[in-house]
């Protein structure tokens, strides 16, 4: 299948998946379940990664901009800008695409190869809509909250390393993360995360839904889903940054 054919198939798949759910009650049940499975279950990973990345950012910035030209609060301020502008949305979503993307692709792929999707179709259910909509909407709903958690934990990671090692004075760090604060950057990160959530969930669902064969192909689809999600996140990141920050 050429790239263009694949894109066409993806578009058809997404059109098929959009629609009024067969039963709202069932949809909401699945929607809440997906929020929990894709979002809440990812919070431990987000906390660990954010804490360490926040700490690391602070250490590296301190090492690289220790210069009389820069005010001492620059460490906190730069850490905040990196976290708000790039890490809390783009890098977090790249990390999450590995966990969430492979989860979605392998779950739907397994349903495909074990004929569970055929069973849904036989019953007269729009399987794409039934399976994909709750995942896409669930991830879009929970992603901004995960980004906020990431922002807070990363900034705390910087604070934590300052307290632990004294690399930067704690008060200076706190002053730095508050100085010259631009609220739009938070909104920028949240808006980007919505697009990334859509990319991760829809692309992974597509790769899982269109898998043919057995367990090997499901594994391959899962890998392809993560790779393609990552590429598309980076492409979207460039486009959105250009559109929203310039």
């Amino acid at each position: 299948m050429t790239a263009l054919e694949k894109f066409g198939t993806y578009c058809t798949f997404m059109v098929q998946s959009i629609g009024v759910p067969e039963k709202w009650k069932e949809f909401f049940k699945r929607y809440i379940n997906e929020i929990y499975k894709l979002g809440i279950d990812s919070i431990p990973l987000i906390l660990i990664v954010s804490l360490f990345i926040g700490s690391l950012c602070t250490i590296l910035i301190k090492l690289n901009i220790s210069n009389p030209i820069f005010p001492r609060y620059s460490v906190g301020m730069t850490t905040r800008e990196i976290i708000l502008l790039e890490f809390s949305s783009s890098i977090l979503c790249l990390i999450l695409s590995g966990k969430i993307g492979s989860n979605i692709a392998s779950e739907i792929g397994t349903m495909r190869v074990t004929e569970q999707i055929d069973a849904l179709e036989i019953m007269g259910i729009n399987s794409a809509n039934f399976l994909v909509m709750p995942k896409v909407l669930g991830l879009i709903t929970i992603m901004p909250f995960m980004v906020i958690i990431c922002m807070a934990t990363s900034l705390f990671g910087g604070y934590f390393i300052c307290v632990l090692t004294g690399i930067v004075d704690v008060d200076t760090y706190i002053y730095g993360i508050q100085s010259k604060f631009i609220e739009w950057y938070v909104w920028f990160a949240l808006i980007k995360s919505l697009f990334f959530a859509y990319i991760i969930s829809s692309i992974s669902a597509f790769y899982g839904y269109t898998v043919k064969g057995g367990s090997v192909e499901v594994g391959q689809a899962s890998t392809d889903a993560v790779v393609m999600s990552n590429i598309m996140i980076l492409v979207a990141d460039v486009i959105l940054t250009k559109l929203m920050l310039q």
């Binding site: 397994t110 349903m111 074990t114 004929e115 569970q116 055929d118 069973a119 019953m123 007269g124």
Partner: protein, 262 residues
């Protein structure tokens, strides 16, 4: 009754023909079997009949309603009258047995939660799975999975029941249990049951209307009593591939035994 008329089916952009002018009738209240060797086209035929594939030529009539000319909306209504048992059972992994059986009821019935539960318990009891309601598919044996899938398939009282290789992967004793269950349900509810199989025990046990597919063509149509006396080399090569059935046939022909083996 389901009737297929002059079905052709091609794959690979029309370069590979799998079904050639297939015509057959499948009757209400009877176990209709589609038999044939692996790769003969019987699964493709069943997938055409249930609407998972669309034939390139011909008609598929569900009690006179041609599904090949139906809109998606009309087809959706027909699907609510269909139950299907897949080769691998196709139970939803994330649901328990009771959840699986209740699934079509939740989606399509207007029953209250209590009524849905009552109906699901009835279906589970009908397939002798009482006590396994809260188990997940992975916790069930192959035979139990098949029975749970049958319970799910009959939950909405279907008019048409399709079974794709219901005995695949099962031991002979469990296969007979599944065959008997399908036969009983078919007669009890007057369902048009179509079973796609190459299990000769099933053919000899419950084959009330048998359609033999050979290389995409209808090779023979008859029933389990007639199959012993057929002068059809392709069918005989398929049916009597094992020594056991070959010996049975020889015995019956030598002794003029016309009654079916029960």
């Amino acid at each position: 009754m389901i009737e297929v008329k002059n079905i052709d089916k091609f794959f690979d952009n029309g370069t590979r023909q799998i079904l050639f002018n297939v015509s057959a009738k499948f009757y209400d209240g009877k176990t209709n079997l589609i038999i044939g060797q692996s790769g003969s086209g019987k699964t493709v035929l069943v997938k055409n009949i249930v609407g998972l594939f669309k034939p390139d030529k011909g008609e598929i009539l569900y009690d006179g309603r041609d599904i090949t000319r139906m809109s998606a909306k009309q087809m959706k209504e027909i699907r609510k009258e269909i139950g299907m048992l897949f080769q691998g059972s196709a139970l939803f992994d994330s649901e328990t047995v009771i959840g699986n059986v209740m699934f079509p009821l939740r989606m399509f019935s207007h029953l209250s939660s209590e009524e849905q539960l009552e109906r699901a318990h009835f279906c589970i009891d009908r397939v002798n799975l009482t006590g396994s309601e809260d188990k997940f598919p992975a916790e069930l044996s192959g035979g139990m999975q098949k029975r749970a899938a049958i319970a799910r398939a009959i939950a909405l009282n279907p008019k048409y029941l399709f079974c794709d290789e219901p005995n695949s992967g099962l031991d002979p004793k469990t296969s007979i249990v599944i065959d008997d269950l399908l036969s009983d349900i078919t007669h009890e509810y007057g369902i048009t049951t179509i079973i796609n199989t190459h299990d000769m025990n099933s053919v000899m046990g419950i084959g009330e209307n048998i359609v033999f597919i050979n290389k995409g063509h209808v090779g023979w149509i008859g029933n389990k009593d007639e199959i012993y006396n057929v002068d059809n080399d392709e069918l005989n090569r398929f049916v009597y591939a094992t020594d056991l059935f070959s010996d049975v046939r020889k015995y019956r022909l030598e002794h003029g035994y016309k009654r079916s083996i029960q």
